[in-house]
Amino acid sequence: MKKLFDRAFDGSDEMYAWAERVVAEASAKYDDNTPVAYPNTAYYLGILYSMTGNKNQTLGELKQSMQWIKSQYTRERRLHDVFTTGVGTACAAEVIEAVKYIGGVNPYEGTGPYLGHMSDAEVRELGVPLVTGDIPGFVVLIGAAPTDEQAVEIIKSYQAKSIYVFLVGECCLQAERKGLKMGHPVRVYPVGPELPSVCHVVSVAVRAGLIFGAIQPGDYDGMREYTFKRINAAVNAFEPVPDITVACGAGAISYGFPVVTNDDHDMWRVPRSLVVQPDVSKFVETSIEARQMKIKITNIDIPVSFATAFEGEVIRKADMQIEANGSRHDSLEFVRTLEASTIEDHKITVIGKDLDEYEFGAQMNLALLVEVGGKKMQSDFEPVFERQFHAWLNCIEGVMHTGQRDMIRVRVSKDAYDAGFRLKHFGEVLYAKLKQEYEQVVDRVQVTIITEPDKVHELRVEANHVYDKRDERLRTLTDESVSDFYSCIMCQSFSPSHVCIVTPERLGLCGAVSWLDAKATHQLDPNGPCRIVTKGDATDEKIGIWENVDNAVNQFSMGALEHVTLYSIMQDPMTSCGCFECICGIEPTSGGVVIVNREHVPMTPLGMTFSEMASMTGGGIQTPGYMGHGKHFIASKKFMAADGGPARIVWLPKALKDQVAERLNATAKTLYDIDNFTDMIADETVTSDDPEKLLEFLTEKGHPVLNLPSLFE
């Protein structure tokens, strides 16, 4: 039997020879100064950058990196040599792929279902679900499953457990042949047809280390330790597994990702690292155990799957069985608190027609009324629960949910309907998730689903009173009016030294934790991620300095941070974990700030994309002038309050601007008595890369930033 180490060594030589060939071919066409880059990333060739610190921006530099890769191919008979060789193999694969992208082309366009390199924005978007365990981990399938059916079965089984699946090689086509929905939103990512494309998966893992872990580029051992401890990934390699795949496997194992294979031929077993599982139907269970992924168990009695993998699923009109659209027909979702004794736990009532009483493609009214009770229940938690409906309902396979309150839109797909999905199943999901996520607070839950138009209307009127009251409460809920802030360290499993301080006017930078959320989380688990920070006396209320806040930040960052201000991005700004919704950065020409959200890929007037700006901060590091934050913070009176407030905002992507316009305009009116402030803020229709044009626009509009003192004084 050929020794395992020899298999890895020989396989790595094959990958190297391949890379050499590809580089030689490229050299014949391009000169050494030809730029080399992956799209939409600030981390260059992610693996090489993270392992060596070298940026490899040209073909010439790429050639030099080939020398480094060769130096990693040491041949002592020790695991160390297999590990460095394995990482070297991944780097060689990255070279092969990078050459394909020369000239700024998308090499996979029109070649099949392949997506190739993943953008930084997509990586960052995974931050929160990875932290919360909503994505328990990643799996990459390599090669061809014994049958197309088995390929899809395995993928769906991972999906059902919310595990993100990458596909490399033939399995991409297997999934395509079976008509499986694929793409980042449904967490099935067909990478490429050939083995070297697996480097794009490794790149996701190491970029997570750079983004969330603040691992310095070139910190070889630090990166491997980060991925080993914090990135739950595994490889499933289908038979036959040739030496070159074994070499890639060595790289994966070096990063801490076990390999599960059904190939027993010349294969060696290594506990928790290289697992031979002849039965592919047990791949999923075997992989989860090998990487010790913690699956959130959600056993909900519905006829379709329930998993975060379906959160991003889009249901087109043609596939839609039925729709409730609050902007056209009264539809709403509403949580209210009742005396627990008046609630019959797990009672689900449907009032009005059920789904099978409507025509295909029909519109309906829909009210989702959830009544909860419990000793620790507070009415402040009602909106917290209600906001979760969006995420929960979207996890249902074949259900799409957008909006909130009485502006919801819900679609049920034909497939889900055919599988037997009916209205009561909304109730099952809401019941199960509420009990699961908020069991400390919620003792009893009952759900009423109403489609009867009059009754829905009646409820809408009632709910509107409550919504108004809540808004009033939120308006009075200011940083000054409360005695406690909350710390949030939910991200520390990925970003060990980051701490958020959550206040009524400043939600967590991920956008997922408001002050009320933090309060509820604290109630659920007083020793959990959210702790009370008693405000005490402010050292400087304008800049937002509190001794207790400093102490909390110091304590929870394990001494990594000493001071944080809440209202300044210039002096000790709040750190970021990396999973922030938006980032703002100073635009020097105007003296204002540019804010860009994760979804916005193109260039900004700072000369940097979101990814590039984001890479300036994150990982718990303070970078004055840059700060990650949640979308809702933009319209807060406390946004950069010490530095001039929202009046500093000079540029926003249009989509984001539209989203925040109403609230931001209201804030600007209150603070500066300016009407329609957002009209003064530029967007990509004005300029997306020219600071002079931006200044011209601001001058023309009379933007208030021009009257503010310089940020650098």
């Binding site: 039997m1 020794k3 395992l4 180490f5 008979r77 020790r78 695991l79 160390h80 297999v82 590990f83 910190d219 051992d221 630090g222 330790e225 080993f228 070096s254 060696w268 077993r269 290594v270 506990p271 928790r272 690292s273 290289l274 697992v275 031979v276 599982q277 047990k282 269970e285 075997t286 155990e289 090998a290």
Partner: protein
Amino acid sequence: MADVRKFTTIEEMEADTKALVQRACDVCAETWQDRAEMQKNHCKFGETGVCCRNCSMGPCRITPKAPRGICGADEHAIAARNYLRSISAGTSSHSDHAREILHVLHSAKRDGAYQIRDEQKLIRLAVEWDVALRTADGAERDIYDIGREVAEKGLEEFGKAFGEMRFPSRAIQERQDLWHKEDIWPRAIDREVVTAMHMTHMGNSADPEALIRQGLRTSIANGWGGSMLGTEITDILFGTPTVWTTEGNLGVLEHDMVNLVVHGHDPVFSEALVMAAESKEMVDYCKSKGIKGINVVGLCCTANEIAMRHGVRMAGNFLQQENAILTGAVEMMCVDIQCIFPALAQLSKCFHTKFVTSSPIARIPGSDYVEFKPENAMENATQLVRAAIDNYENRNPERVWIPATKQTATVGYPTEQIIRHLDNITNSNVDELGSYKPAVEAIKAGVLRGAVAIVGCNNPRVRPDYSHYEIIKELLKNDILVVATGCAAQLATKAGLLNKEARYQCGDGLKRVCELMDIPPVLHMGACVDISRMMLLANGIARDWGVKLTEIPVVGCAPEWMSEKAVSIANYVVSTGLDVYLGIEPQVSGSTQMMEWITEGTRKLTGGGFIISTDPHVLVKNIIDGIEAKREALGI
């Protein structure tokens, strides 16, 4: 991120020792360093094993001019006889210790000073030995009844008239067949020792082969007999060790507490002292004197025993026994058996330290002798703890100097714990539990290159602890797992290598295994008597691998051995089919035949032999080469 931990170097340990020895000069006391100097230029005849003083015609010493003794015995006969006598003494030490413990089991009572703590282990042994678990009418037998019968059966192992010993049948079939074929399966412990003494009497065996064979048989009576009994019964009485975090080195002595050091090998005595010191009565008494508390710490193998059963901290190993007293902070040193310097009696008089001997086996002039009997264990122990507390006021603060050096350590990995940790890295979808297979797979794939048992003492013939340290470090770097007992394990403790963070000192393969299993790279398996555990470990690996014991890349190493117990141990390890790497030359070098026998001769009989070098760097290279050769032979 990595390697933030501070490890203690040999030089730092030596600096502490030097400072303490200087204090000995200040009080005009002598230490082993002085005596080693005085004993310099050891007798060459003794050193090479060619001095015979087995009858009063002699002593006869072999030289080129006088190649035979008066009776005609040549250097080969004399060296072999002396060697066999060492094995017999070593076997006797471990076995007599086991016998005492069997008697304690026999006298154990539910309401007595000693109880049965690991009933499951007792039941497993009862089943192995055909002791009935139920009475004739089908009722469950009282566990203490079962214990008594098991103790009786165990005691039979010492002097049964017919038949052969039981534990060797725990070995894999290949080994059992070999022991039968070579006729070295021991019959009974006492019988083999008596036979050995008889064979070496004037006018008996002069054939090195016969004497070597009896040596092997006598040693198996230890490793697969006396020592194994000692370990098993100790586990039954005091509990099978579990994983504990503790501390090691003289820094565990406390300035503001009563320091009570327990030293020796037999946990029966020290267990009682630990219990007494923790009793409310003694804690209150201590407080009534205005003292913060009682600090019981171990030394030598007693430390290993109680560290892995109670997490009691370890003050140091063999050559630190005087250092403990030299701190001036020890109120009492209580000793039981084996490896106790008679010099402690004199030295303790230079300080306020009370030196208490407790066993009729180890009587030392100048000590306070309090014979320790199981029937009044707690009274004895309480009385001693009280005396230690009373002695605190006699401590002279001006004479106190406690080195700050200490390290945290994770200890307590008997085979049961190793299996449990291996279970943690199995995959329930493909693997079985309760097996060494995960370890075997890691070795076969090359992630681990092999395993080495580092055992044994300290010896002033070489730089103390240095050989242990150098060899262990190099093995770890080469992905070789180390299991350790005795004073070698204590060196690893002092250095910090029993800390889980020591994985950063390892090659990537061993490091990964440590991370996945959540273990330190050096596994503390106990006292020297617990080397029997290592035999079961090796045996289990061979069994689960399906190969011979001689084939597995697992070896033993005693870098700084000195006692006759060690000679016996080395022989039973060789009998088990494993090579043993020695850092001190056995005292047979005056005989070319014996040198041949111990290195290559036994290899023909059992498959194992000695490889010897006093240079630790050469020795560790030999070990690694030996392991790689075994791998090559297996095609892995």
